[in-house]
């Protein structure tokens, strides 16, 4: 490959991946809406089920003293007749366990498992699952507020398809006080919501949302339960579960309200962890892709690979732009392809806005007023994608070099609340 061919390939990749994927996700999202969502009742009016099997809700907690009252208050509003709550305190250094013990006297459904030593979320989840009395387990984070009808939708979906071993719900952002918080409201719809819908059409998901998901115990047993050797337990268990033959699906009506970082530092740490964890899982899964039923993850794996290559291509482009005196288009002999948008940049920006608009339209039945968040997504095509690409560039080698993950929690940035 000579230099000009390389430059052209680079430019085609930098433009082509986000352009093609924007359309792909929009088409997939619309297909999912047309095939499934439009026939469903509103999320706050679930139909009566013929049977309400008991469910265990796992709530792993580490230094959640500030949040856990609210979390339990929300769980107390859950409109499902038969469920228990298993809160697992993973050796918190604050008074989480005392708070949980007090709450258990107020909420009879709540049971508390205390891990004497901090061992990480996966270990906490595993022992929570051991304590859980029921076959279906729903999982939320210690700071997640579950929608009252989420459990009913999860159970209904499991009852609908016996081959589904895991479900991911629809996390919605609670904290929207700053630009970063508000931008993520749009991002969770336009990127994450659309991707999950599109992936659901072909039947494999990259990941369940750890903040709101549900599993059959039997599927978790087949997958080998949660592994302490990963930094993104949700991605890891989703892949292993699908690679042993269980299906996963997106249940958009199972809502949960989550807290997200509202500082750049917090956001960077969160996204870097996601990127490194996702890359680690994809790398470990590679050999299994060649054995049935691992084949089904090829589309997801290839998409991950192209996204990593794209991130590095963007890095090279940015470097070339800097070296070339802000004239990358000229440098690459592809006029109009600059860091400051020429035709290609314009098309990408417009398509991102189109994607955000389509996603918000699909999500508007789950969140009143979501169309207003379009105002804040302007930061995505201007700046936010740089953070995403940068975390992928750094996360990938970290995943390659990381030998073994120690199962220890770090408390995330949860935004500004007071």
């Amino acid at each position: 490959m000579n230099a000009s061919t390389f430059e052209l390939a680079l430019a085609v990749l930098c433009f082509g991946y986000p352009y093609v994927m924007a359309w792909y996700w929009i088409v997939g999202g619309v297909m999912f809406q047309w095939l499934r969502e439009r026939h469903e009742p509103p999320f706050d009016q679930p139909p009566a089920l013929a049977e309400y099997p008991p469910v265990s809700i796992l709530v792993p907690c580490y230094n959640e003293s500030r949040q856990v009252d609210e979390t339990m208050m929300a769980l107390d509003r859950v409109a499902y007749p038969d469920f228990e709550i298993v809160a697992i305190d993973d050796g918190s250094s604050d008074d989480t366990v005392q708070r949980l013990e007090q709450l258990a006297t107020r909420y009879p459904r709540l049971r508390v498992v205390r891990m004497a030593r901090n061992g990480g979320k996966s270990t906490a989840m595993n022992f929570g699952a051991l304590a859980a009395r029921h076959e279906i387990i729903a999982c939320i984070d210690g700071d997640t507020l579950m929608d009252p009808h989420a459990l009913t939708w999860f159970v209904r979906r499991f009852q609908n398809d016996p081959l589904i071993g895991g479900l991911t719900g629809n996390p919605r952002i609670r904290n929207r006080t700053t630009v970063i918080g508000r931008l993520q409201v749009g991002e969770f719809s336009s990127i994450i919501g659309l991707i999950k819908r599109a992936q659901n059409v072909y039947g494999s998901l990259f990941t369940a949302s750890g903040a709101i998901c549900a599993y059959r115990k039997r599927a978790l047993q087949d997958a080998g339960w949660w592994s302490p050797h990963t930094i993104t337990d949700d991605v890891d268990i989703s892949w292993r579960l699908q690679m042993v033959g269980w299906r996963m699906a997106f249940e958009p009506k199972a809502l949960a309200w989550i807290l997200t970082p509202e500082t750049l530092r917090g956001l960077w740490r969160q996204r870097l962890r996601w990127s490194e964890g996702g890359s680690g899982v994809a790398l470990r899964a590679f050999t299994t892709l060649f054995r049935s039923p691992g084949y089904r993850m090829w589309p997801i794996w290839l998409n991950w690979l192209v996204s990593i290559v794209w991130s590095y291509a963007m890095l090279v482009m940015l470097l070339a732009w800097a070296v070339g005196g802000l004239q990358i288009g000229h440098l690459l002999r592809l006029e109009g392809f600059g860091f400051f948008p020429g035709q290609a940049g314009m098309l990408l920006a417009v398509h991102y806005l189109l994607q955000a608009l389509a996603a918000s339209a699909l999500d508007r039945k789950y969140e009143h007023g979501i169309m207003r968040t379009i105002f804040w997504v302007v930061w995505y095509p201007l700046m936010f994608w740089v953070l995403q690409a940068a975390t992928a560039v750094i996360g990938f080698p970290l995943a390659l070099l990381r030998r073994k993950t120690s199962g220890v929690w770090t408390s995330p940035d949860r935004g500004f609340r007071e």
Binding site: L35, L130, N160, V201, R216, W257, F340, W379, F416
Partner: protein, 152 residues
């Protein structure tokens, strides 16, 4: 409890809200400036349809020519999704309850998978408050030293 439990700008000083709003408005202006040629081009096509012409920022059809190969890929991927949607039509559209469900996991198997004794398992299942000691930090599972103390 307020529902939905949104945390909005009431917690913030007014100047932060004003700053963020102005910054975002400026970001929109910047974006519109970057894409203004595209807007001009759209106007060009609209006016051309009613017989009014002006010099466009770039040759008509140039953007379509550049985007066409990528749109072909989009077409292929749409076909790919359509094939899956057709093949999985029943699964995707079926909203009925299935007649059969998988058998629940045998609790004994779960306990074995975690290398915990029947006693530890039963205590974890029965008690409303427990403390778990002696977890193997390497595997995140039980070990011969694992024991569970009832706190209630």
């Amino acid at each position: 409890m307020k529902w939905p439990p949104l945390i909005d700008t009431v917690h913030l000083p007014w100047w932060v809200v004003v700053r963020d709003t102005i910054a975002t408005l400026l970001a929109w202006c910047l974006l519109l400036y970057f894409i203004h040629d595209m807007v001009v081009m759209s106007v060009y096509w609209l006016l051309r349809a009613v017989g009014i012409g002006f010099t466009p920022p770039w040759a008509p059809g140039e953007m379509w020519r550049d985007a066409e190969p990528f749109l072909k890929v989009v077409g292929l991927l749409t076909l790919w999704l359509t094939i899956f949607a057709t093949a999985r039509w029943r699964l995707l559209t079926n909203l009925q309850r299935a007649t059969r469900q998988p058998r629940p996991l045998d609790p004994q198997r779960q306990a074995e998978a975690f290398h915990v004794s029947a006693e530890v398992f039963e205590t974890l299942q029965d008690a409303s408050s427990t403390t778990v000691h002696g977890v193997d930090p390497e595997t995140g599972r039980g070990s011969p030293d694992t024991r569970v103390a009832m706190d209630d």
